[in-house]
Symmetry: C2
Subunit: 231 residues, 2 copies
């Protein structure tokens, strides 16, 4: 579709005019003590690219960001959070007011069961240790399984193997409207890269989006989400 392609290239689509979109991005950091934490390699680039694309498509965008080193896209409202529980609180508040919720953050599944107030000291002669972990809230599932004020809910599945199979199962288990699956095992695409390749999955089937700059991919995804969210 030449018209669509032109719109996409020049960012002139206003497919989300009048819509409110909330997007989570980046990793979360789960504190062990004042110094140490558990985190993951999410750079936040995909979520930030989606926020920029949604804004350019006319949406009012709230971007809930974990600790990342990225500039806020123009005219996007940014809420900074550190851990999964803070992100959940910010996401729930934003979801109350939005039409579309996109969970692009790599939320830590688990956090340390307790946070030490002081830096934990090594014990002499002790060569092993352990961290007990408890499950974090499942932010996107919490929003997708709402009975009221439920936005069109999009999740991500970043996997290193059996990518589509895991994504498919996540779509159903979490009651998502759509899931965007990507393989983060390669160095070309994935967490710290500026490029990505994804598979968009919903109840009706799969769409492959070949490798592209995250900014270009974000524009394509926003157009797909806008169409699906209308239905």
């Amino acid at each position: 579709d030449l018209a669509l392609q032109t719109e996409s290239q020049f960012g002139s689509s206003d497919c989300l005019r009048g819509k409110r979109v909330a997007i989570t991005a980046g990793p979360t950091r789960e504190a062990l003590d004042p110094v140490r934490y558990l985190s993951n390699h999410s750079s936040g680039k995909m979520g930030f690219a989606l926020a920029e694309a949604a804004r350019k498509a006319g949406a009012e965008v709230t971007l809930i960001a974990g600790p990342v080193n990225l500039a806020t896209p123009a005219h996007v409202k940014r809420v900074d959070v550190i851990d999964a529980r803070d992100m959940r609180d910010a996401a729930e508040r934003a979801a109350d007011l939005c039409d579309i919720f996109i969970s692009a953050a790599a939320v830590a599944d688990f956090r340390p069961a307790s946070v030490a107030e002081q830096k934990i000291k090594k014990r002499e002669g002790c060569d092993e240790s352990a961290i007990t972990l408890v499950k974090n809230p499942d932010i996107v599932a919490g929003i997708a399984t709402r009975s009221e004020r439920r936005p069109f809910t999009v999740g991500f599945a970043a996997e290193t193997q059996q990518v589509e199979q895991y994504a498919q199962s996540k779509l159903q288990r979490k009651n998502l409207d759509m899931i965007i699956a990507n393989d983060v095992s390669g160095s070309e695409t994935g967490f710290n890269s500026d490029r990505n390749a994804v598979t968009v999955i919903d109840r009706h089937g799969n769409t492959q989006l070949p490798e592209a700059l995250k900014a270009d991919l974000a524009r394509q995804l926003i157009e797909i989400i806008a169409v699906k969210a209308q239905k």
Copy 2:
């Protein structure tokens, strides 16, 4: 001492001319699986400031850096590493050839006992988990306890309580020539700040350096280290 002060302010001291200095900086990241890791809040700023100050004082500087977002100071040789074992290997190689070794990195004391090759999946209905940890190599102690080719060895102690007491004990236990203690519990000084306040401790006593920009503090520390390393 006005002369010293002037030198310090204008960076014209060449107190390390002809010396080779190796400095570690930043955190280490200890992988749990391809996606998740354990790390800490070290920004690397103090170590990078020391590398720049040592270079300006005439030294040939090798900077062994964990994952940080900082530019390499001019004319400094940088070696990037991720985890403690890589940092140990790079530090041991650099220590073979250096006169002064400064351990400014916040090396993770422990790492996950095993690294999963694929992203670890949550198990349904399982609300707790645990990570078994094993001790990482003690890089600065390994160098300070060498019987041959032992450089003048300087450690850091970043603590949140009983700062000088812990630092004093670390100095002796690890056989260091000097330890630089700082309290990272405040938000003004410490890990992500551009400012710091430290206590320099050696066998002969303590010197307090009041709060200053890390770059200024680094110049003062390099002058103290240069004098002590001569003896």
